[in-house]
Symmetry: C2
Subunit: 356 residues, 2 copies
DNA sequence: CTGAAAGCGCTAACAG
DNA sequence: CTGTTAGCGCTTTCAG
């Protein structure tokens, strides 16, 4: 493994010159630079990350703090990670994913106080996220993916839930739907103050009001069973509902299953629109889900760019940015049946159609 | 940020004593150790990772090389990652996930030759995986998750596909099924030599032969559409099939959707068993999928333990280990209808049942 | 524009 | 059992 000494010797310059050629921290004559670069190439030189980090007090490592629950990473999160990794790599930084949630504060504290991280991206941010306090206390720059309750002095990028919900409701209303039910995350999740659940709830209420419609939200556990229960509740409360907006990738599958079991066809009897969903997941359902596609990789890129600005200049400008999801119409949404269709009639028709 | 000097001064010992107290690389009297520990606690001391890494030529970082395709991380992979992270953390190492696939060789080369990684775990290993060559050349210890074609001199942990397939087929045969079709990954994936697809194919052939049954394998694209197409093909080739074994989490959803669309009920008309599937995903389907649960977190733990052995002693013993998946019966498998039931009759009965 | 040299904070001989 | 000290490989003043 060649060192900078070796390069300097071969190029017949001093080590500092090699260093400056590498970092560009001070001007170098073209002739010298060429000599140095040639020597580096010949020796297949790669700077030692630890030595560099020790001397410069910069690890060139950015952490992506990524709580991993048993559910895994959806395609949405993956797109985010991929976008972030590409942006970091382009800037000469390494992005390391650390499965650190709000429960692993000690681990985070260790990682940060060992000066391993030049900066951190927090995913799955909670309204009161203790990781923020830990990182601030240790002086590690950070950018949130999502938002805490109080975002003063914090940079973040997040989905524009308000606009996304408005677009989804607009799509359904344009199709002619009036009785639209919103299936959200669980009551516990709402009680915990999970931002996306709260923000979409409020956005749904506002969007429906804007169209002069009655908003009904039903919480659902993040599972197929939760979706089935939610559908039962929805049908009890609004027997003649014609559309469901869902913000719960797991529940939406149970919901579709239960709809089929009850003989309600999608989208003829009930339209379903899924929020913040990746194309890959939307295509898994039968029929494929009309969905609001999350801007995963753009979100990742912007987050890294913002973070690097903070890392490079300590007091960089705070950047708070929202990106909307784009509507992608697939098979699960369509115009409602004409008024007057009863539940019983619809069921009978569905059964008939199936036998045909 | 306190340094080791500060600790030494406060404890009235030399820096080397502090260092040895920290690493345990040489015996320390209890009294001295207590003094040092007290000083550390008082100063809230954390060793500087870069300095440590430079001096010891050990980064204490293990890389988990994890190609991220657009599909994301399933619950299976997540369990693996979580198990590995826990094991690494317990050993005082940091596990960093790097979204590096076989296409990002340059990035891997940089990471490794900058001496950032003490060792690496490779996921999604291909039969001829160039990452192995890069790491070996650079002297970075590695453990495979999966297997290359030639595994001499390589440690790996992998799923015991042979035993897993045998157990799945056994389950169906015990229920009374004879006409069992195997839905695998795509033809392209097979042609590329993707290990799990090839190994399960062969295991399926062997298992069926063991029961005196005819094996039929059908490749399917990794998507819902692929599953629908595969079902159509399967029914064309074996109109009276009673069971499907699937090794394709995406296709299995399309397959179930198509089965429902054709009025074949699961499991009454057709039993479905999904291989190497996590409980979370299995529960998403309606009915919930009988599945072979992958040993994700155990796999991760064992992989890390093996890797650390290689890191600690350069010429550690090669460890090649296979873990089986465990059968978990849910709603998608059951006894077949009695012989003689025609497709038409089954469809009619299904429709009737649904209206009841 | 270039060189010399003083560290960065820690580990690991080498001495006792 | 403990202390002294020479690096690890690089960055960054300070001089020229």
């Amino acid at each position: 493994m060649a060192t900078m000494q070796d390069v300097a010797r071969l190029a017949r310059v001093s080590v500092s010159t090699v260093s400056y050629a590498l970092t560009g921290a001070r001007p170098i004559s073209q002739a010298t630079r060429d000599k140095v670069l040639a020597a580096m190439a010949e020796l297949d030189y790669q700077p030692n990350a630890m030595a560099r980090g020790l001397a410069s007090r910069r690890s060139r490592i950015l952490g992506l703090l990524l709580p991993m629950d048993e559910r895994g990473l959806g395609a949405t999160e993956t797109a985010f990670v991929t976008g972030a990794a590409a942006a970091a790599s382009a800037a000469g930084y390494h992005l390391v994913l650390s499965p650190i949630g709000v429960g692993d504060l000690d681990q985070l504290r260790r990682l940060a106080s060992q000066r391993m991280l030049d900066g951190a991206l927090l995913m799955e941010v909670q309204l009161h996220d203790p990781r923020v306090d830990v990182l601030r206390e240790l002086g590690v720059p950070l950018v949130l993916i999502g938002r805490t309750a109080d975002t003063t002095g914090l940079s973040y990028v997040d989905i524009d839930f308000d606009q996304t919900v408005r677009a989804a409701v607009g799509h359904l209303v344009d199709l002619g739907h009036h009785r639209i039910v919103y299936v959200n995350h669980s009551a516990d999740t709402l009680a915990e103050g999970y931002g996306p659940a709260l923000r979409t709830r409020d956005a749904f209420t506002a969007a429906m009001a804007g169209h002069g419609l009655e908003p009904l939200m039903i919480p659902a556990e993040d599972s197929a069973a939760g979706g089935r229960t939610a559908l039962a509740t929805a049908l009890r409360r609004v027997p003649d509902l014609t559309a469901i907006l869902a913000m719960n990738e797991s529940a939406v599958f149970g919901l579709l299953g239960e709809l089929a079991a009850r003989g309600r066809s999608v989208p003829d009897d009930v339209s379903v629109v899924s929020m913040v969903t990746s194309p890959q997941v939307a295509e898994l359902a039968t029929p494929a889900l009309t969905a609001m596609n999350s801007p995963g990789s753009a979100l990742g890129r912007i987050a890294i760019e913002t973070l690097l600005r903070h890392v490079d200049v300590g007091d960089a400008q705070i950047n708070q940015q929202l990106l909307p999801c784009a509507l992608e119409v697939r098979g699960s949404s369509g115009p409602p049946r004409t008024e007057g269709t009863t539940t019983e009639a619809a069921r009978r028709r569905a059964a008939t159609r199936r036998r045909a």
